[in-house]
């Protein structure tokens, strides 16, 4: 007796079809799984055995061979519990074999026959749709993820008993109702709004510019000055995420199992804040199962590195190349996967080891050499990745009780969205999306300065002791400021403002 059903597997962020076959033959009772299963797949026989028995179904006491095809790729995780159980039921005639014909199954079993959720559902549903699968049985808890994909019948099941009833035709199999992107978007909630941050006017403006142009930001300030709070509020002013972007981001989070429970697509851009003890692998991705790292989880969102100099140098350097390329290829002995990593890097640091250099209220106790060593922990090429540097100082009482109204995030986001639209139009044929991605060639085309601005730029370099490195960055940031003002040309006031966001180029830091 033989039966086979379709299931799915994951390779990087993409799903692929896996055919699960079971052969039941006479011989000594045994259960063999072939097709490069990992430990979790091998253990599924115990779960399947118990689940079948506790659902009141029969587990055949004969020689069982399960094959997972293609036989030469590694199968991981507990998602094959459900397809294996269905194979056994079909092979023993407990469900009609024709009912499982063009259906696919994904799910983990618990010993009592319940069906538990699995990670990586979204990419697998997308793959199932591309493979033309008509019916897809999934764990009920994964239904919200599947609901985002149209043109596929995803049927949620919460137990093995429910599934067999559906397959026998004793009970109607109801597919999840698709949820529109619009409906999802409306359920969006912001955690932290800019209007609750008092003072910090220039820092907020700098973040607005950064959000509009996708620029990486470095915040420098004493402990307790509000760097973390500013960074946490940043997602609320980032441009709205599009459906395609949301799909891509959710896929990654689905694989990593970091989706919030009961949530389908992510409707806000991700914000990731790994602790400074993070290892290079946890940041870039890898490990035994080739998991996406923090830089991929922050795809289309923000990666916030608090206390940047405390991160190990090797960790920071490992991030440099993906930061530039927008994706990372992780290669290990047992395979190679490609994860996207187009994120905005926001980092914070103290100005010196004691944190009080430049403070108006506290005396810095660090020697010059200590400060230099502290700043030296971040390599020059790494510093070069930051277009915008902001100095954040602790607030005074007067600022805490400031009279001037703080703008809500929604109003800022509107401007940011508009500026992004301008960039989308401009870069349509250039193969980039934002001002931050411009290279020298792009800058020549899109950041042309008129004579007045040119003269100003020259003067600024002489008078303000700017380093040559900063030239291109100031241009890019000025371009974004011009976009925010809906100005075609980069005017001198745009350049003048951009200079304010280059603190580390200033002489007193060197």
């Amino acid at each position: 007796m033989i039966a086979g059903v379709i299931s799915l597997g994951l390779s990087g962020v993409d799903g692929y079809a896996v055919r699960v076959e079971a052969d039941i033959s006479n011989g000594l009772p045994a259960f063999e799984t072939v097709g490069l299963p990992d430990a979790a797949v091998k253990e599924s026989r115990e779960r399947v055995r118990a689940a079948l028995r506790n659902t009141g179904l029969e587990f055949p006491t004969r020689r069982i061979t399960v094959n997972l095809a293609p036989a030469d790729t590694r199968k991981e995780g507990p998602i094959y519990d459900l397809p294996i159980a269905v194979c056994l039921l079909a092979a023993t005639g407990q469900v009609p074999p024709e009912a499982v014909q063009d259906a696919a199954f994904i799910g983990e079993l618990s010993l009592d026959g319940g069906v538990r959720p699995v990670s990586g559902m979204l990419p697998m549903v997308i793959a199932a749709r591309q493979l033309g699968i008509e019916r897809l049985f999934i764990p009920a808890d994964n239904a919200p993820e599947a609901a985002c994909i149209e043109n596929i019948r995803a049927i949620p099941v919460s137990s093995l008993g429910e599934l067999t009833a559906a397959l026998r035709g004793e009970r109607a199999a109801e597919a999840v109702a698709p949820v529109t992107w619009q409906a999802l978007r409306e359920s969006r909630q912001e955690q932290s709004d800019f209007s609750v941050i008092r003072g910090q006017h220039i820092a907020k403006r700098a973040l607005e510019v950064a959000a509009a142009g996708g620029h990486n930001v470095l915040m420098i300030g004493p402990p307790g000055s509000g760097k973390t709070m500013l960074a946490r509020s940043l997602p609320s002013i980032l441009p709205d995420i599009t459906f395609e972007e949301a799909l891509e981001v959710t896929k990654i989070h689905s694989i990593a199992g970091t989706l919030p429970p009961r949530q389908g697509l992510l409707t806000t851009r991700p914000f990731r804040a790994p602790h400074h003890t993070a290892s290079a692998v946890s940041l870039t991705g890898g490990g035994q199962r080739l998991h996406p790292g923090e830089i991929s989880l922050a795809h289309y969102g923000v990666l916030f590195l608090d206390e940047l100099p405390e991160f190990e140098r090797i960790v920071l350097e490992a991030m440099r190349q993906p930061l530039e390329d927008g994706h990372v290829t992780i290669t290990r002995a047992n395979g190679s996967v490609d994860f996207p990593s187009r994120f905005m890097l926001v980092a914070s640091m103290n100005p010196c080891p004691c944190g009080h250099f430049g403070s108006r209220t506290q005396q810095c106790a660090c020697t010059h050499a200590q400060i230099q060593r502290y700043l030296g922990r971040i390599s020059g090429p790494m510093l070069d990745r930051f277009d915008i540097h902001i100095e954040v100082d602790a607030l005074e009482y007067a600022e805490l009780t400031s009279e001037r109204d703080a703008e809500p995030s929604v109003a800022i986001r509107e401007r940011v969205n508009a500026a992004r639209e301008v960039q989308n139009q401009r870069f349509r044929d250039a193969g980039i999306f934002s001002n931050a991605q411009m290279n020298n060639r792009h800058q020549k085309t899109y950041c042309a300065l008129d004579e007045e601005s040119h003269a100003l730029m020259e003067q600024m370099f002489v008078r303000l002791n700017l380093s040559g490195r900063g030239y291109g960055r100031i241009l890019r940031v000025a371009r974004t400021i011009a976009d925010l003002e809906e100005s075609e040309r980069i005017k001198s006031e745009h350049l003048a403002e951009a200079v304010q966001y280059r603190s580390l180029d200033r002489k007193y830091w060197r």
Partner: protein, 362 residues
């Protein structure tokens, strides 16, 4: 060159262990460095010296050794000014333990300046101290007074820079050889001083910056000048050594008063309490000595007139003291981008400066 036999002075100053005190003993016995050389060459015993120093003296007493020393100095472009030379500053000659030889790089003619003021202070100044030091040293520079200091971090370096900015001459006295830049980060300043001022040391070229050298060089800093200005110094600062030397040498002491609540004001404020001259601008110093001001303007650099109403508004706020960006924003009705642009332009025109922590100041 002035006197015959100045090479023997240089030779003596190159022998380890021979400082102003032992030199005096040698002079009491032999009257002349050339005579010391002849005695040492002949291998005579030197009862006034300890054995080790005497042995070193005898060992190095050869014509070849002296030629080697002179060649090395020539190669490095270092001038040696001996006590017997007419360039040797008279003021310094008068102190109890005047150095035998001064090694110099730069403009040696500065040694004959009659108007010299030393400025000393902490290596970790507050912003107030930095501003006071800049203001006074620049004023002195503008009025043709030579500013002497030690090229250390903090107040020392600021005073050299301020004086150069004011168009004055400046002398840096080091605690190591004149060919060694210490601290390293003052490289740029060192080059500027070699170019436009004078680097001075009593230590032979190549001497590393040993901690013991620094208090001793302070006597030269105070000894060269008519008076010393103490800008900021903590309670147990090395600056106090310089003050002691200045008192011994009979130099005038000026102290710049500081806010009573910072530790760096303790020494200058105590000095004022015990009767030192108080200096709040370079005018106080000029008047004390009866030196005439070169320019008729009010103290400090001339203000650049605001070009627009916006700039005038910002200037008015900054007149009351340094302020952060956010404070200025609160006090005006500019938008953030507007204010950022205005401040950049004002910085560029040199009307204001930006300090760490996004603080703006006149």
């Amino acid at each position: 060159m002035a006197e015959e036999g100045r090479q023997y002075w240089i030779w003596l100053s190159h022998v380890d262990g021979v400082g102003p005190m032992r030199f005096k003993k040698l002079m009491n016995a032999f009257d002349d460095p050339a005579e010391v050389f002849r005695q040492a060459q002949a291998g005579r015993s030197m009862p006034m010296l300890d054995d080790a120093t005497a042995a070193r003296l005898r060992e190095s007493a050869s014509v070849e050794a002296i030629e080697g020393i002179l060649c090395a100095l020539d190669e490095k472009g270092i001038r040696a000014v001996c006590q017997c030379d007419p360039e040797y500053p008279e003021q310094l000659l008068g102190i109890y333990d005047a150095p035998l030889v001064l090694y110099a790089r730069g403009n040696v003619s500065l040694l004959s300046c009659k108007r010299m003021i030393s400025m000393v202070g902490t290596r970790q100044p507050t912003r107030y101290g930095e501003q006071a030091a800049t203001q006074i040293s620049r004023g002195l520079g503008e009025n043709g007074i030579t500013v002497v200091s030690g090229m250390a971090r903090g107040i020392d370096g600021i005073c050299h820079r301020g004086c150069l900015e004011g168009g004055g001459d400046t002398i840096a006295v080091l605690g190591c050889g004149v060919d060694i830049v210490y601290p390293r980060e003052q490289q740029e300043l060192y080059e500027r001083i070699v170019d436009r001022g004078l680097i001075l040391s009593e230590y032979k070229p190549g001497t590393p910056p040993a901690p013991g050298n620094f208090p001793a060089r302070n006597r030269i800093i105070s000894g060269l000048a008519s008076g010393i200005v103490v800008v900021e110094a903590g309670q147990r600062s090395g600056t106090l050594f310089t003050v002691d030397f200045a008192l011994d040498q009979g130099r005038d002491i000026f102290a710049v008063p500081g806010p009573v609540n910072t530790p760096m004001s303790v020494t200058p404020n105590n000095l004022i309490k015990s009767g030192c001259q108080m200096a709040t601008s370079c005018d106080d110093i000029l008047q004390y000595y009866g030196w005439v001001r070169r320019s008729a303007e009010s103290p400090g650099t001339p203000r650049i007139q605001p070009a627009s109403r916006e700039e005038a508004t910002v200037l008015e706020i900054l007149e009351d003291g340094e302020t952060t960006f956010d404070r200025i924003f609160e006090m005006t009705d500019f938008s953030v981008p507007q204010l950022a642009a205005i401040l950049s332009m004002m910085e560029m025109k040199g009307m204001i400066v930006q300090l760490p922590g996004r603080v703006y100041s006149l």
